[in-house]
């Protein structure tokens, strides 16, 4: 197989890849990028503990079909109750609605009662895998709900019957360009142009050592309307005088999109490359911290990558942190000080991937406390619920107004889980629902910490004719941070 450079690939090779399945399962990590500007990657065969649907069978029978997952509810008092499932809101039938419906599909697939057909596959992809239903459930399968949905997708891809046609473009793009946006590698750096013009070039960590890697993510790099996110982030880092670098054109996708679509081989391919690269950067370039402003990348690094048995060894000495947490730590130590006032009424949207997806579930695997496989409790200290809010409140002049559905009960923007690509009209409609919820607070700006949500919510605002303006938290911080931070 001929390797390719700079995102270019011979047409015949691409066609070959497109013919069977998704065309990516045959590649190994070594076939992606044999070297990163002199950094030779070692050959590491990684073992992944990613469960199949069959392996989850006992777990999914723990669902009672009680339907608690259908509605976001808090006792209070006063109690609050709201719809939580975007697919349930749009498509109504029980199968689409929350984990109860998806588990019905899973049971039917495993029992043989349901055979693959277009409508079933379509229904399985009409889910944001947002985890809103998971937040409501109290049973033993709770920790595995997104995993069960994605395991169905993995089976779909493994059986060669999916994902959906529009989503296959993503998979092919990932194969050809190492990003889901069909963007040539050189375009990945377009967001840095203003910095070059200002004489503030951003260091390439492959060429110059740096302790901080700013991992931009494909959405921030290629999706033009949200390039403001990496631009604001880099601007803040410059103002703070941080020693940071980026991977430039050599950055490749984190693999989150592939994983969400069930293309596990594509995910493993890029994840293994990234893990090896991070290890090398640590050993040879002094990398200690990876900062990302993309909730999807962050989720992938925190939840998906640890499914590699080699994760601990590859990431030893390297901390992964979301921009909001990184800046919050600086704020708390007095290194981030705001000079300007921003008299805005804002509301905050919790992205699923930076929020409830980072919940840790305590399971009594051996049955020493309760019984084998019992879900004991959850820990949400890694969920970025309060940190963005505290930063927002720290900005002088900000009037933060909360929506009805927040934190673990946040209503998904509707873009995740491959929906924005596969069903963009529905994604935008659902974002419109969230925008409306934001409008009801009286806010005129909606802030988030995910470029994917940012883009989709913007689509929702445009679709509904709303005047709500979308901002990333970094944009607000950049506005009020003085040029020379003390």
């Amino acid at each position: 197989m001929e390797h390719w450079n700079n995102g270019l690939i011979k047409k015949t090779e691409m066609e070959n890849r497109s013919n069977g399945n998704l065309g990516m399962g045959r590649l190994t990590h070594r076939s992606i990028i044999p070297s990163f500007r002199g950094l030779k990657l070692e050959e590491v065969i990684m073992k992944w503990n990613i469960p199949s649907l069959k392996e989850l069978e006992d777990v999914l029978w723990r669902c009672t079909a009680c339907g608690t997952c259908k509605e976001a509810y808090e006792y209070g008092p006063p109690s609050v109750s709201s719809p939580i499932c975007p697919a349930g809101e749009e498509f109504s039938f029980e199968g689409f609605l929350s984990s109860r419906g998806k588990i019905a599909f899973a049971r039917g697939i495993l029992s043989g009662d349901l055979k693959w057909n277009d409508a079933l596959i379509d229904a399985i992809y009409k889910c944001n895998v947002c985890g809103g239903c998971q937040s409501q459930c109290e049973l033993d399968h709770k920790p595995f709900i997104p995993e069960i949905i994605e395991a169905m997708r993995r089976k779909i891809v493994a059986d060669g019957v999916g994902p959906m046609p529009k989503q296959k473009v993503i998979a092919q793009s990932l194969s050809s360009y190492d990003n889901p946006y069909q963007g040539p590698r050189r375009v990945r750096l377009d967001w840095t142009r203003p910095f070059k013009k200002q004489g503030k070039p951003i260091k390439n960590i492959l060429e110059e050592p740096a302790s901080i890697l700013y991992y931009v993510g494909c959405t921030g790099g290629y999706n033009v309307p949200v390039r403001v996110v990496p631009q604001a982030t880099a601007s803040i880092f410059h103002k703070l005088g941080l020693d940071f670098g980026i991977l430039g054109e050599s950055e490749i996708c984190c693999g989150s999109t592939a994983m969400r679509l069930g293309d596990v081989e594509a995910f493993k391919r890029v994840a293994e490359s990234n893990l090896e690269l991070f290890r090398k950067l640590h050993d040879e370039k002094g990398l200690k911290t990876i900062v990302t402003s993309c909730a999807g990348c962050y989720r992938a690094f925190m939840k998906d990558y640890p499914m590699a048995e080699e994760y601990g060894r590859m990431m030893e000495g390297i901390r992964v942190i979301h921009t909001s947490q990184f800046l919050y730590d600086l704020y708390m130590t007095g290194q981030l000080k705001f000079a300007e006032s921003l008299p805005w009424k804002v509301t905050y949207h919790d992205p699923c991937h930076a929020g409830r997806h980072l919940t840790k579930f305590i399971i009594d695997k051996e049955g020493t406390q309760l019984w084998a496989g019992a879900y004991v409790k959850l820990e949400d200290k890694d969920c970025l619920y309060d940190i963005p809010r505290q930063l927002l409140k720290a900005i002088p002049g900000i009037d933060l107004r909360e929506m009805r559905r927040i934190k673990a009960n946040s209503y998904c923007c509707g873009g995740g889980g491959g929906v924005m690509t596969g069903y963009n009209d529905w994604a935008a409609r659902n974002a419109g629902i969230r925008i409306q919820e934001g409008m009801e607070t009286g806010a005129d700006h909606m802030v988030s910490i995910c470029p994917f949500c940012h883009y989709n919510l913007n689509q929702g605002a445009q679709g509904t004719g709303s005047k709500m303006k979308l901002f990333d938290l970094t944009e607000l911080i950049d506005k009020v941070l003085p040029e020379k931070a003390s």
Binding site: C63, C66, G101, S111, Q136, L139
Partner: protein
């Protein structure tokens, strides 16, 4: 043993011919819109089972309705074509009530979920069938009001619970949730729209089913087999600010009955309930495990609400008097500390914890059913003793609840029975135990509520012939082609 494939078409129903099915689907879509009717197998499958032991069965169609007019048109069409219709709100009952016995159409009401009227002065609300307990609780809290919240998921339907004689957390004070119904709008199986109660005389008056003939009884307790309630008036109540919970324990069920009988005479409790040791555990032990020798066998919690501290003190004085009296009788009643999580789960309603059946079936996995009955209180103790033998004989926990209802000394007697639904053998074991228990209860004058078909058959075996004759005649009168949830009444 893995669960065997049991998805069936409703019995005695030939598969609907493809061309007929397409024609019917086309007609359904013309009524409710292209997106709201389907014959897709995976969608039908998701409606084919619930958490009970009832054998899964597939409908032929699923239809989402949004308006009363759509419901009328659907029923007129179904009646003409003789298509079974199963009304469905959230499918959270544990009696298989929405599992189609004879195929046909699931009519899903989740999108008819408006709270049409809430009158905080007159103290009633008018709701559509898709309104959930969580949704109503939020709306009522704004006025410091409440309804009888059942031990079910917040997403469950208020209307379905009420018309099926569901219970709430105020049964000792106000009775069953069906006794809180003040008026109804109903679409008959033939498609006509009717009203019963005060709203039948004045369209804006939803305050009472009395003093007219109680025709609401034609639609309560019939398990959706006589018509579809499209609007329901219900009484709501103020939330007094002070809650006091009286908790006692004892070693013998007879002692608990004596205490509950005594306390209920004073009518000071919203909820007067006792649970066996196995039900007080979170979750119910599965399979059966013996109670520790030093643990009481019965616990009781009784909620009482007061508007002032003095009122609370007066209520507490009565309770203390009752406890003293029971002790003097030589019973084993002791004031006790009720397990905190269990207490919280039973007093903070609607509850996700109880609603998800975490308390009940989490340890077994997937399945739960019950012999759930309304039983004369003086038969609770002897029945419990029989149930205990039956349940333990099936290696199941005798996790029994007794709750005193308003008025006559009768109330709930039920054994919440979790089982491993992944195993067909364990599911059948639970079914057998439950049906055995039910027979004991029926022979002692009890009556099952929200009964699965197995229960209905047992009821009918014992029924007065005049009761069966009248029921059949009413059913025939209201539903001449037997399209509404056919088979559920066991007639």
């Amino acid at each position: 043993m893995k669960a065997k494939k049991e998805i069936k078409k409703g019995k005695a129903v030939k598969a609907v011919r493809t061309d007929k099915k397409e024609r019917i689907l086309k007609e359904l879509k013309s009524i409710v819109g292209e997106k709201n009717a389907t014959t897709d197998q995976h969608i039908l499958y998701a409606y084919s089972y619930d958490m009970s032991f009832v054998t899964p069965k597939l409908p032929d169609y699923v239809v989402i309705v949004h308006t009363v007019e759509e419901v009328q048109r659907i029923l007129k069409f179904a009646n003409k074509e003789k298509i079974p219709v199963v009304p469905y709100t959230s499918g959270t009952n544990i009696g298989g009530l929405c599992i189609p016995e004879r195929g046909g159409m699931i009519l899903d009401f989740k999108k008819m979920n408006k709270i049409i009227k809430l009158d905080p002065e007159a103290l009633y609300a008018v709701i559509e069938p898709g309104v959930s307990h969580g949704q109503l609780a939020e709306a009522l809290y704004k006025y410091n009001l409440r309804f009888g919240w059942p031990v079910g998921p917040p997403s469950a339907s208020v209307a379905s619970c009420a018309i099926c004689h569901g219970i709430g957390h105020m049964n000792a004070r106000y009775g069953l949730n069906s006794q809180e119904i003040t008026s109804m709008e109903v679409v008959l199986p033939t498609g006509e729209l009717v009203r019963v109660g005060s709203c039948a005389i004045n369209p804006d008056a939803w305050h009472s089913c009395l003093p007219m003939p109680q025709m609401d009884g034609l639609f309560k307790g019939w398990l959706g087999s006589t018509g579809i309630v499209t609007k329901l008036g219900i009484a709501v109540h103020h939330i007094p600010p002070i809650l006091k919970i009286f908790t006692v324990s004892c070693d013998h069920v007879d002692d608990m009955y004596s205490y509950m009988l005594n306390l209920s005479n004073y009518e000071i409790c919203d909820d007067l309930t006792a649970v066996s040791w196995w039900l007080s555990q979170v979750p119910i032990p599965y399979p059966y495990k013996p109670k520790p020798d030093d643990a009481p066998e019965w616990f009781s919690y009784a909620t009482t609400f007061s508007f002032t501290e003095k009122e609370k003190e007066a209520r507490t004085e009565i309770w203390e008097k009752v406890v003293d009296e029971e002790k003097k009788k030589g019973t084993s009643i002791q004031v006790t500390h009720y397990p905190e999580e269990a207490l919280k789960a039973r007093t903070q309603l609607p509850s996700q914890i109880v609603g998800s059946t975490k308390n009940y079936c989490k340890m077994a996995g997937g399945g739960i059913s019950w012999p759930g009955t309304f039983t004369p209180a003086n038969r609770w103790a002897p029945i419990y003793k029989e149930w205990k033998k039956i349940m333990i004989g099936h290696n199941l926990s005798p996790s029994v609840r007794m709750s005193m209802y308003r008025g006559v000394h009768y109330g709930m007697l039920r054994a919440m029975t979790p089982f491993n639904k992944q195993s067909a053998k364990e599911t059948e074991n639970a079914r057998q135990a439950i049906v055995e228990c039910l027979k004991v209860d029926l022979d002692n004058g009890g009556m099952p509520y929200k009964p699965p078909v197995d229960f209905a058959m047992e009821i009918n075996k014992r029924a007065h012939p005049g009761y069966l004759m009248l029921m059949k005649r009413l059913k025939k009168f209201l539903d001449p082609n037997d399209i509404m949830n056919p088979g559920k009444l066991g007639i």
